[in-house]
Symmetry: C2
Subunit: 178 residues, 2 copies
């Protein structure tokens, strides 16, 4: 990597429950030094569940980062070294009460690679099996079902803005419709 920034020193600034913040000093390709603020996060996984009638499941919940309710695919934060597929199967079941008969990998995204280590893995669930929703205490959300084509329109008209959900809807539609 010809542009690599080699870390010379690293200082932990904040260790939270969701993320850690560190301040690194790096050596740039021209050998000068620079400072980098980085949010460290174990990563996440999200899953777009599509039923046999082309309905998808979305979760509406309040998101403190953007201080508003956001429509998202079921998703969760990975425990350290957790398998992202297992993580999102668990979240799908807990949040919506559905299990996936078939899971397809839709790739990964770096939400903000400049300053945050988070990688979000995205999957598609099909051949859904109805089981039972099991919300954690303190988790307030509403599950809604919309047609994939309507979700696609909602992405294009900015009513769905969550990055992993935008990517999941666009890729799932591409995969299903070709």
């Amino acid at each position: 990597m010809k542009f690599e920034e080699k870390t010379i020193s690293s200082e932990e600034i904040f260790k939270g429950k969701i993320f850690t913040v560190k301040k690194d000093t790096v050596k740039l390709p021209d050998n000068s030094e620079a400072s980098r603020e980085v949010v460290t996060h174990h990563g996440g996984a999200g899953i777009i569940a599509v039923d046999d009638d082309r309905n998808i499941l979305l979760v509406r919940q309040y998101r403190k980062g953007v201080e508003r309710e956001v429509l998202e695919i079921p998703a969760g934060k990975l425990e350290k070294n957790e398998d992202p597929k297992k993580c999102c199967e668990r979240e799908l079941l807990e949040e919506t009460g559905y299990a996936a008969g078939t899971i397809t990998d839709l790739g990964k995204i770096y939400p903000t690679p400049a300053y945050c280590s988070e990688i979000i893995h995205i999957y598609m669930a099909t051949d859904l099996i109805k089981k039972e929703q099991k919300l954690d205490s303190g988790e307030f959300l509403e599950v809604i079902s919309v047609k994939l084509d309507k979700a696609y329109d909602m992405v294009l008209s900015n009513r769905i803005c969550d990055a992993k959900t935008v990517v999941a809807v666009l890729k799932a539609k591409q995969l299903i419709d070709g």
Copy 2:
């Protein structure tokens, strides 16, 4: 908003150059209290420049968050209250040396709305006008030109993973090809 989390108190943990970290106490819909860690960021803007031969411009640079080189559309961080369109026109010119004759709004994304306030605004530039690249000192990057259809394949095969770039390529292709 029926799931709103009302902020009761807020404590600033870290004030950096790129982002600020705060720890808020919130009241949940059932009146219980919870703690929220939030990264505050002024937001960003990215622009996918498409020339008359369906080539797009991508920038390869090292990204400390994910500790690797990442292919991205030209983009920048907003100054407080800055117009995102002006921001990405400036970044496009500085990083690639091109000005946009026409700019189309491709919407916005929330990269990680659960814990980060950042909103990224995405635009498409067409009718490009060649001017001069003006990199900031300490900015090391390579500009590459690829066909829109190749970039689309790179999104589907996980070679383009940056969230704003994935969304820009998928939406630009949809807009141009219908």
